[in-house]
Assembly symmetry: C2
């Protein structure tokens, strides 16, 4: 029985341990010996199964981002089908994009908060091979969602939408990374303040709570009035601020 030839148990144990250690220490500060030691496999096993340390990191992400990309695209497909050619609501787009991700935090089989934290921390790693890898993995999805936002906010300059998508990714990335100045400063978990019940947490609860808090924030930022430009950069056709606010589709 069990004719799983690709998942050799050793392979999966390495991936699981690497996911956790890369999250805890970062890529550079995590050595192969730490990984193989914690996974209780031979040192050479990583190079045998994956080829190199870089390839291991890529594989750690590929098995999660594969699922994420498919589900993000499916969610968008579903929305666009039911909209029948019309533009989507920004809230729907954000829910599809960020909600799909944050739901991974609630599901241990999808990596849970461990993967989410790893993702948030790795998105800002400067290593060239990492950025190249993410660029390839994200290209299609980002482009699809960008187009959807363009259509959802026809009166907002596309450059502005790109900036705000940028900011939204940042807020999310930092939030899920969870290496937090605030957490250390306050000495408590976010949410353990102001009389809320403390987090006896379970990452599942944390993930859900994060999503509840993050989505309104992102939507508020996306829909914020456009900035006034004090530098006469070029012919400003018209300050689209007010017009865009009025004609913005319901959210």
């Amino acid at each position: 029985m069990s004719e799983q030839k690709t998942s050799s148990d050793t392979r999966d144990r390495i991936l699981d341990v690497a996911e956790r250690l890369f999250m805890e220490n970062g890529y550079e500060a995590t050595s192969m010996r730490m990984i193989t030691g914690a996974a209780e496999v031979n040192l050479a096993a990583v190079n045998y199964h994956f080829g190199s340390k870089e390839a291991l990191l890529r594989e750690v992400f590929r098995r999660r981002l594969g699922w994420l990309n498919v589900n993000r695209l499916q969610a968008l497909d579903r929305l666009e089908a039911q909209a029948g050619g019309g533009p989507l609501k920004p809230s729907q787009i954000l829910e599809a994009f960020f909600g799909t991700l944050l739901r991974m935090g609630e599901d241990k089989a999808l990596g849970g908060m461990t993967f989410l934290r790893l993702l948030g921390r790795t998105l800002t790693e400067p290593a060239e091979f990492i950025r190249t890898f993410f660029a390839g993995e994200y290209a299609e999805v980002i482009d699809r969602y960008k187009q959807a936002l363009y259509r959802a906010l026809p009166d907002v300059p596309q450059a502005e939408i790109v900036w705000r998508l940028h900011f939204m990714l940042g807020a999310m990335s930092y939030a899920i990374a969870g290496t937090d100045v605030l957490r250390v400063v306050t000495g408590v978990e976010v949410g353990d303040l102001a009389g809320e019940r403390p987090l006896q947490d379970d990452d599942t609860v944390l993930a859900r709570r994060l999503a509840q808090r993050l989505m309104p924030f992102l939507l508020g930022g996306l829909r914020a009035p456009l900035p006034q430009f004090d530098e006469p950069a070029r012919i400003q056709k018209e300050l689209p601020t007010q017009a865009a606010r009025e004609s913005r589709p319901g959210i």
Copy 2:
């Protein structure tokens, strides 16, 4: 002449080079030999002047964060003085906090965008000594601004304000880090889209443009309607959403 005993030229060259290399490669991936080589000083100079690689990183930040902390607190003091005991407007608070930082990006003497990028990238580093260091450096300022926000938004639960401060820090951190999925995906600089004039940039222009774009986004996120809680966590005194929106001081 020049009785500057502390700034031995070697010291400053090391700090400047380390700031840039830590930004480009991250802490772990930057070796002492890369730093001393680029600074054209002897390998032992770092340990002589700073004691260790960790202490070097701390000093790189200390000379910038010192200025930043002082100016952030002064800006808040000035606002509170002119408000005469009353609450501040959220937009004023954000301008003081984020504006002070972003202005560093326009001033090469304060590190310019090099330091901003370094800061953004280092804030998510998992190394314990880095997080401990930032916690200490930021404690007082974060606390002061948090209190100011509590007073500015008396109808918003304090836990919610902490979450949103968290999200705002994330959006800013990621934005100034500038290791960007979007940038790689689109192949162009943000702002080089949709007919805007391309960035022949000068970091000064980038910093100013970033500030213009980021501030409205943050303000929109901070002022967004409060989330609805579907989990009956505890007695929800009343959904403060609408009430808070009405009574919110002008922005």
